[in-house]
């Protein structure tokens, strides 16, 4: 199962070259700040200069909400890398997407009308965008993709879940190719909720996560194509029963997800030479990650790379970690360091191109997903 092409829109800019450029700069940091009506800006890494210009016709872009635009632009980059004509019938191309908040802005607009004007003022054009599957659906409509079109909600693990389910669709031959996606928008009510849960950081140097915005697309197929970027070798998932807004008390679910992924990939802990850390700046998941790695990797110390503490947390961020793993496997120079909690345990920075990468995600509520990616 091959990852044949990719595309991205992140706080580093539009396109993979912009992301790669940021990854090559050790000190790169996003400009943080999402405005809200009556409080200080919230710690969100926003795609500030994002535009659809030159990618989507204005008439098309106008009918899409922001998450759908982010995703469409990222998808165009991935599809462009495959070539002018796709090697698969469009009816056999599927889309899987993970999102944590797609539709929130549309939801807010509809409820504003309901609450502040009258229920009869609810805008019919915006209502369909309140459903979380709108970005993936709009992408299928735009590109005439008739394969399975599935959106998944699994909070921080949503993007990785989308990649896993793309793999499952391919394995069962329900599609010839699948665009596995992650997409989130920066929306102040959503960010404010995370802030109130004390998940996000309260000061520039304090503990806590930053949230992110963006879209990631990984194009998967059973056939390698001309120049595959990486292979999806295996995956696993598990969960710990816990309150939906809390992280679990132990790293058990992450341990089981990693073990299942290694087993599915036919790999061992010793094969892993790159770990994409789920570190977002929030202390609790960092502690659970360290616990899980101790249980699964033992004394192995693969290189570790953290990106979520700079590009932001969200459902899309676990797909973004998979994308950065793919870039690293392809030899893209990456200068960002190991996160502090794993550096303290002796995990080194990435210094040479890896062959096998482990990507994990742990969601509030206790759901964990892991995937093993290998160089093609």
């Amino acid at each position: 199962m091959f990852i044949c092409a990719a595309g991205a829109v992140t706080a580093a800019g539009t396109g993979i070259p912009a992301l790669a450029s940021a990854l090559a700069q050790p000190d790169w940091q996003p400009t943080l700040g999402l405005e809200r009506p009556d409080g200080p800006p919230l710690p969100v890494a926003v795609c500030r200069d994002f535009s659809t210009q030159g990618v989507l016709p204005p008439m098309v872009a106008r009918r899409l909400d922001r998450p759908a635009r982010l995703l469409a632009v990222a998808a165009r980059e991935a599809l462009g890398a495959v070539g002018a004509s796709l090697p698969w019938p469009r009816d056999e191309v599927g889309v899987t997407a993970g999102t944590g908040n797609a539709g929130t802005e549309a939801l807010v607009e509809v409820l504003k009308a309901v609450f502040l004007a009258s229920p009869e003022e609810a805008p019919p054009m915006q209502f369909p965008s309140t459903v979380a599957n709108a970005p993936a659906s709009q992408l299928a409509i735009l590109e005439k993709f008739g394969g399975p079109n599935l959106t998944f909600a699994e909070k921080q693990a949503g993007g990785l879940r989308a990649m896993v389910e793309a793999g499952r669709l391919l394995r069962r031959q329900r599609a010839a190719a699948v665009l596995a996606c992650g997409v989130d928008e920066a929306q102040w009510l959503n960010a404010e909720a995370y802030h109130r849960l004390r998940f996000t950081r309260r000061s520039a140097s304090g503990p806590g996560a930053i949230l992110g915005e963006g879209a990631v697309v990984l194009l998967l197929s059973l056939s390698p194509g001309d120049a595959p970027l990486a292979r999806l070798a295996g995956w696993g998932a598990a969960a710990s029963p816990t309150a939906t807004h809390l992280y679990p008390s132990s790293g058990d679910s992450l341990v089981r997800a990693i073990m299942l992924a290694l087993e599915h990939a036919g790999a061992t802990a010793g094969d892993i030479d790159l770990l994409l850390s789920l570190y977002s700046g929030a202390p609790r998941p960092a502690r659970l990650e360290a616990e899980a790695l101790a249980a699964t990797l033992g004394r192995q110390r693969p290189a570790v790379l953290a990106i979520t503490d700079r590009l932001g947390e969200g459902a899309f961020s676990s797909a973004l970690r998979a994308l950065v793993a793919v870039l690293a496997l392809g030899g893209t120079p990456i200068a960002w360091p190991a996160p502090p909690h794993l550096a303290a345990l002796g995990f080194p920075d990435l210094s040479r191109p890896p062959r096998t990468a482990l990507v994990t995600a742990l969601a509030g509520g206790g759901s964990a997903v892991a995937a093993v990616l290998t160089a093609p």
């Binding site: 009556d38 599927g94 889309v95 939801l107 807010v108 509809v110 409820l111 504003k112 009308a113 309901v114 609450f115 009258s118 229920p119 009869e120 609810a122 805008p123 019919p124 209502f127 369909p128 309140t130 459903v131 599957n133 709108a134 993936a136 659906s137 709009q138 299928a140 409509i141 590109e143 993709f145 008739g146 394969g147 399975p148 079109n149 599935l150 959106t151 998944f152 909600a153 699994e154 879940r161 389910e165 499952r168 069962r172 329900r174 009510l189 909720a193 109130r196 998932a237 598990a238 969960a239 029963p241 816990t242 309150a243 939906t244 807004h245 058990d252 969601a363 509030g364 509520g365 759901s367």
Partner: protein, 405 residues
């Protein structure tokens, strides 16, 4: 792939707090559509919905800690899961970190509760009150709640493909079970009524101010509903070994995208034909094998003829002899929970040899040339049944269920 059986069913609907009450009232042709009581509908264009009675949400058998701040939607899901586990005689087993999957269709989750917060906040109110009001905004919240209530430690998947969400969830869960990824899966979904969907569907003029009439010449739209269904799925050999009582087999599922329009169906039926054919192919069956169709049947002006056209394309002249009923006239359109509810009803139909009726149907429409089973349930031998769901965004899915022989 191993054979997968449905060995337990839990249902909470506007017709009843449990499977048997829902089923018996459904067969009698009763409807759960009535004046909406959950919130004040003054100012809304319509006032009817299929609301679940609050008594269904009491859940005395569930630990209070697992229900703390649980949304209405989550309570629906937990209630259906409790009934399904008990029905499958797994309730005792399920309490200690079993690695069983929970695969749900997720929709409004805790949005009804969050609307109170949003009403204040959007009007410029404080941001520092009532944390619990928005804890269940994420659409996977009810999946988490069900897993937490029964301390389940297997993978959790929440599908959000609008009205086909829980149809996909059942198909995906069956695949996970068949492939040996998990021994048991709780599959289905829950969705509760809220102001957003009520206002939104009204804004699309998709709601009938009167009780909905699927496939009827006089139909004017849907009625919204709420409810939950949970199906217990396990491999046949496991079920046999423990003496479980199966309702039906999950033979296959199909999932496709219309790639046509966010809210409008392809009137030709061609897009949905692909979905149905994909499901039949997955099951290794042909149209000639199908004895009953549980339709999406929303009662909107556009859905029903497009759906009938799809069936006509697949089943041809044979369609005249295949009952095609919609439960949405009785249960309302339960959105992300609808597919799971309909899969449960279809499994009961297969197990009991009864085609459920289409409540509200009385006058045939030449544009919808199907037999919607008017009046009351019809005894009907069913070896293979199809349950179809067609969603916003053109996310279409169909399940094929078969009799356990």
């Amino acid at each position: 792939m191993a054979e997968v059986w449905i060995t337990g069913i839990g249902l909470v609907t506007a017709l009843g707090c449990d499977r048997e009450t829902t089923w018996s009232r459904l067969l009698r042709g009763e409807s759960g559509v009535a004046a909406l009581r959950l919130f004040d509908t003054a100012g809304y264009r319509t006032h009817l919905a299929a609301q679940v009675d609050d008594s269904c949400l009491a859940l005395p058998s569930i630990a209070a800690a697992a229900l703390r701040h649980a949304s209405r939607t989550s309570r629906l899901g937990i209630a259906a899961a409790a009934e399904a586990l008990a029905d499958a005689r797994l309730a005792g087993e399920a309490t200690v970190h079993r690695p069983w999957a929970v695969v749900f269709g997720g929709g409004s989750a805790g949005l009804f509760e969050a609307e109170s917060f949003l009403r204040r906040r959007l009007a410029g109110g404080p941001r520092t009150r009532a944390l619990e009001e928005f804890l269940e905004v994420p659409q996977d919240a009810s999946t988490d709640r069900v897993a937490e209530a029964f301390t389940l430690a297997g993978p959790r998947v929440t599908v959000t493909t609008a009205c086909s969400s829980s149809t996909v969830a059942v198909g995906l869960a069956a695949e996970m079970v068949a492939g040996g990824e998990v021994d048991v899966a709780l599959a289905g979904g829950a969705d509760g009524l809220c102001r957003l969907t009520f206002a939104g569907f009204n804004s699309l003029r998709a709601v009938d101010p009167h009780p909905a009439k699927p496939f009827d010449r006089r139909r004017k739209g849907l009625n919204l509903g709420e409810g939950a269904a949970v199906l217990i799925l396990e491999r046949a050999e496991r079920a046999l070994a423990r003496g479980a009582r199966p309702y039906a087999r999950v033979l296959g599922y199909g999932v496709t995208a219309d790639a046509f329009h966010m809210t409008q169906p392809d009137a030709s039926g061609a897009a949905w034909e692909r979905t149905i054919r994909a499901a039949l192919a997955d099951a290794g069956l042909t149209p000639e094998d199908v004895d009953y169709i549980n339709a999406h049947g929303t009662a909107t002006e556009q859905n029903d003829p497009a759906e009938a056209a799809a069936y006509r394309r697949v089943f041809g002249e044979r369609l005249a002899g295949v009952p095609v009923s919609s439960v949405k006239g009785a249960l309302g359109h339960c959105l992300c929970g609808a597919g799971g509810i309909e899969a449960a009803i279809t499994a009961l139909a297969v197990a009991r040899g009864m085609a459920p009726p289409t409540a509200g149907f009385a006058e045939p429409d030449p544009a919808c040339p199907v037999d919607p089973v008017p009046g009351v349930g019809r005894p009907w031998p069913i070896r293979v049944a199809l349950s179809a769901s067609f969603a916003f965004g053109g996310n279409s899915a169909a399940l094929v269920l078969g009799k356990v022989t």
